[in-house]
C-alpha cells in the first residue's frame, strides 16, 4: 500500500499514530411486531423520554465537571428537543396510523431533522445533527440498548467516522481512544469542541472520500496540529512524525518534571500555580499535573445532579474527599454559583430576559438563607484540619460582602451553640467578575482577605458580550485593553492594602496572557490541570523586570489584535 494524505481541518492539537477504528453506530433495527393500542405505545414513548432526559442530565453533569458550561449546554438543547410538542405530535399521528412506537420515533425525528437541514441559514441547519442524535437516543432506549454498550475499544485506536454526535464523542472516549477524525464537520462542530475539551487530537472535514479510503485497521498518522491524516505512512513519514511526536512528548515530560516543583519566575519569585476543579477526580488530576493548590473548587455540580439540594452531610463528604486528595495544599471553595441559565429544578426561577444579569450566585444565597447556611456549615465542618478558603461569587457591592459575612458569622455562632467541631480560621475572599467589584477593590479590601479574578465573566460584563451568542462571540476578547486595565486596577488596589490576588478565569492558563499577568503582579494563577506544566515552564522563563516591561507595553496598545500580535512575538522569542 502506498502512502496517501488526506487534508482536513485541524480541530484539536496533537499528533497520534495508530490503527483506524471505523465507527459505525450500532444498527438500531426496527422490530417487526404488531402494534399495541395507541395509548400503550404512547406510554412507552413517555417512559423513553423520561429516561432520555435523565441520561442527558447526567451527561451534562459529567461534561460540566470537566469542562465549560457552554459545552454542557449542548445537552440542555437536546433535553428541550426530547420534550418538544412537535416531536410528540409527529409520533402520535404515526401511532394513530397504526405504526409501532420504534418506527414512529425513527420517522418522526428524521422528518424534523430533515426539516431543519433544509433551511437556508447555516445556523439553523446545524441543528439537524442535534435532532438526529436525539432521535437515535430515544430509539436506542426503546430497543433496550444501554448507553454504555455503544462501542468498546479494547486496544488503542484512532476513531474514524462520517460524523460524530455529541453523545457519540462522549461515549467513545476511553483510555484507548487516541484521537478522532471525521468526514464532515468544522471547527465549531460539536466533535471539535469536545475533542479539545478532552485533550484528544482531532481532524474534521476530511470529505466523504475519507471513508472509502480508510478501513478498519488501516495504519494512520493523525496530525491534529497540521490538519492532516496520513494513510499507510511510509517508513520515512512514520519516522518524521514519530520524531515530532517524541519531541512533543519529551518537551511535555520535561515540563511535567519541572511541574512537580513550585512555580517561580526567572529571578526566583514564587507565584502560586493552582487548578480549577469540580470534583475529586479532577482534584487527583490536578495533583498529577503539579497543582500547588486549588484556585477554584466549583460546587455547582452537587446542586445540579439531584432533584433536591444536597444535604449538609452529602456536602461534607464531597468537600472532604477533595480536601483529602489535595493533602495540605490550599483549596479555595466557591459558594454556589448558579442562575437562570442552568437552573436546578427545586429553585423557582421566573422567566428572565437576561439570566446573566438576573437572579444568580450570591444574590440567590443572600435571599435563601437555609440553602446558603447549609453550604457554609458543610464547608466549615469539612475544613477541620485542612487549608480551606471561602470565596463568594458575583459580588458587586460592599453590602453584599457584608451580608454574606454576616450569614457566615451566624453559622459559626450556631455551630458553637450545638458544639460541633469546625474550622475557625478560614479566610474569606471574593471573586472579581463584575466591573463594579474591580472598581471597588480598594474598599472591598478592607473587609475581605483575598481576591480572585473570574475573567470569563469579567470579560462578558465589561465588554457587554454574551459569548454563547454566536453572532457576537468574536467580540468576546479576554485580551481586550479594557479588561486588562480593570485587572491592573484590581491588583494594584489589593496590593496597596496588603491583600493578594489570584485568577481563576481562562486567561490565567492562556500562554499569551501569562507574561502580562506576571508583570501586573498577579499572585496566584489557577487553570485547567493540563495547562499547568506549560504555564510553570513559561513563568520560569521571565524575570519580573522583563514581565513588567511587557505589561507596560501591552497596556499602551489600542486593540486586542495589537496585543495578541505583540504577545505572539514575545512567545516566539521565548520559546526560541
Amino acid at each position: 500500500m502506498s502512502e496517501a494524505i488526506l487534508k482536513g481541518i485541524a480541530a484539536s492539537d496533537g499528533i497520534v499514530i495508530g490503527p483506524a477504528f471505523i465507527y459505525n453506530r450500532v444498527p438500531l433495527d426496527i422490530p417487526s411486531r404488531p402494534a399495541a393500542p395507541v395509548l400503550q405505545e404512547l406510554q412507552r414513548f413517555q417512559i423513553a423520554c423520561e429516561q432520555a432526559g435523565q441520561e442527558l442530565e447526567s451527561l451534562k453533569i459529567s461534561v460540566l465537571a470537566r469542562s465549560d458550561p457552554e459545552t454542557a449546554a449542548i445537552f440542555d438543547a437536546h433535553k428541550m428537543m426530547v420534550l418538544d410538542p412537535m416531536l410528540l405530535d409527529a409520533v402520535q399521528s404515526r401511532l394513530e396510523a397504526g405504526q409501532i412506537i420504534e418506527a414512529a420515533v425513527q420517522e418522526a425525528s428524521e422528518e424534523l431533522a430533515a426539516m431543519l437541514g433544509a433551511m437556508q441559514d447555516e445556523l439553523f441547519a446545524a441543528r439537524e445533527a442535534d435532532m438526529r442524535d436525539v432521535g437515535r437516543r430515544l430509539l436506542r432506549i426503546l430497543l433496550g440498548i444501554s448507553d454504555t454498550s455503544i462501542t468498546q475499544l479494547d486496544s488503542p485506536a484512532i476513531i474514524v467516522a462520517n460524523d460524530l454526535t455529541p453523545s457519540d464523542t462522549v461515549s467513545l472516549q476511553s483510555e484507548f481512544t487516541l484521537g478522532f477524525c471525521t468526514a464532515v464537520g468544522g471547527l465549531t462542530s460539536h466533535v471539535a469542541i469536545l475533542a479539545r475539551t478532552l485533550g484528544l487530537p482531532a481532524v474534521v472535514g476530511l470529505g466523504k472520500k475519507a471513508l472509502d479510503a480508510i478501513s478498519d485497521g488501516t495504519m494512520l498518522v493523525l496530525d491534529g496540529t497540521g490538519g492532516a491524516v496520513i494513510l499507510d505512512p511510509s517508513g520515512v513519514t512514520l519516522e518524521q512524525y514519530e520524531a515530532a511526536r517524541m519531541k512533543a512528548t519529551v518537551r511535555l515530560a520535561a515540563m511535567q518534571e519541572n511541574s512537580s516543583k513550585d512555580a517561580a519566575t526567572a529571578n526566583g519569585r514564587h507565584v502560586e500555580v493552582g487548578s480549577n476543579i469540580g470534583d475529586v477526580d479532577s482534584a487527583k488530576e490536578a495533583v498529577r499535573f503539579g497543582a500547588e493548590g486549588v484556585g477554584l473548587l466549583r460546587t455547582e455540580f452537587l446542586y445540579l445532579q439531584n432533584t433536591r439540594p444536597p444535604t449538609e452531610e452529602q456536602q461534607i463528604t464531597a468537600y472532604k474527599s477533595v480536601f483529602d486528595a489535595m493533602g495540605n495544599r490550599p483549596v479555595i471553595i466557591r459558594t454556589l454559583d448558579i442562575g437562570g441559565d442552568k437552573p436546578p429544578g427545586y429553585l423557582k426561577f421566573d422567566a428572565e430576559l437576561n439570566p446573566f444579569l438576573g437572579w444568580r450566585a450570591i444574590r440567590i444565597c443572600l435571599e435563601d438563607h437555609p440553602l446558603f447556611k447549609t453550604q457554609l456549615r458543610a464547608i466549615l465542618r469539612a475544613a477541620v484540619g485542612h487549608r480551606a478558603l471561602i470565596m463568594f461569587p458575583m459580588i458587586s457591592s460592599v453590602e453584599e460582602l457584608r451580608a454574606a459575612k454576616t450569614v457566615l458569622a451566624e453559622v459559626r455562632a450556631e455551630l458553637d451553640v450545638v458544639g460541633l467541631d469546625y474550622a475557625h480560621d478560614v479566610p474569606v475572599g471574593i471573586m472579581v467578575e463584575t466591573p463594579a467589584a474591580a472598581m471597588l477593590t480598594d474598599i472591598l479590601a478592607l473587609e475581605c482577605d483575598f481576591f480572585s479574578l473570574g475573567t470569563n465573566d469579567l470579560t462578558q460584563y465589561t465588554l457587554a458580550v454574551d459569548r454563547t451568542n454566536e453572532r457576537v462571540a468574536k467580540l468576546f476578547q479576554p485580551l481586550h485593553p479594557a479588561v486588562l486595565r480593570l485587572i491592573k486596577k484590581t491588583i494594584d488596589a489589593a496590593h496597596q492594602h496588603g491583600k493578594w490576588v489570584g485568577m481563576c478565569g481562562e486567561l490565567a492558563g492562556m500562554q499569551k496572557a501569562i507574561p502580562i499577568l506576571l508583570g501586573l503582579g498577579l499572585d496566584e494563577f489557577s487553570m485547567a490541570p493540563r495547562s499547568i506544566p506549560e504555564a510553570k515552564w513559561l513563568i520560569s522563563k521571565f524575570t519580573d523586570t522583563r514581565a513588567r516591561k511587557i505589561a507596560t507595553q501591552v497596556l499602551n496598545q489600542a486593540t486586542s489584535a495589537d496585543i495578541e500580535e505583540f504577545m505572539e512575538e514575545v512567545l516566539q522569542e521565548t520559546r526560541g
Binding site: 418538544d84 412537535m86 431543519l116 433551511m119 422567566a351 457587554a464 454574551d466 451568542n469
Partner: protein, 89 residues
C-alpha cells in the same frame, strides 16, 4: 383569541438563546399560541416549531394566542421580542 404582529430586530433572529427564551415564555402560558412567519406557522411552545420558522433579523412575525391567559401571553411575548431578548442590538 388575540393576534398581534411584530418585527424581530434581534441579530440572530429566533435562534439559539432567543428561541429558547421565547419557547420558555410561551410554555409558561395555558393558551394555545402559534407564530406565523410568511407562509410558515408553528407552535410557540415547540423549539423545533420556532426554529423551523427560520425567523431572521427584521422579519415580521404574527403571534396568535387563544385561551384563558391570551392577553398576558401576547404582552409577555411581545415585550420579549421588543426588548431584543435582553440583548442590545
Amino acid at each position: 383569541m388575540q393576534t398581534t404582529s411584530i418585527v424581530v430586530h434581534n441579530k440572530v433572529g429566533l435562534h439559539a438563546r432567543p428561541a429558547a427564551l421565547f419557547v420558555q415564555a410561551a410554555m409558561a402560558h395555558q393558551s394555545k399560541i402559534t407564530v406565523r412567519n410568511g407562509e410558515k406557522s408553528g407552535n410557540a411552545k415547540s423549539i423545533m416549531g420556532i426554529l423551523a420558522l427560520g425567523v431572521q433579523q427584521n422579519d415580521t412575525i404574527t403571534i396568535n394566542a387563544d385561551g384563558p391567559d391570551e392577553m398576558d401571553a401576547l404582552t409577555v411575548l411581545t415585550r420579549l421580542v421588543n426588548d431584543n431578548f435582553g440583548e442590545s442590538l
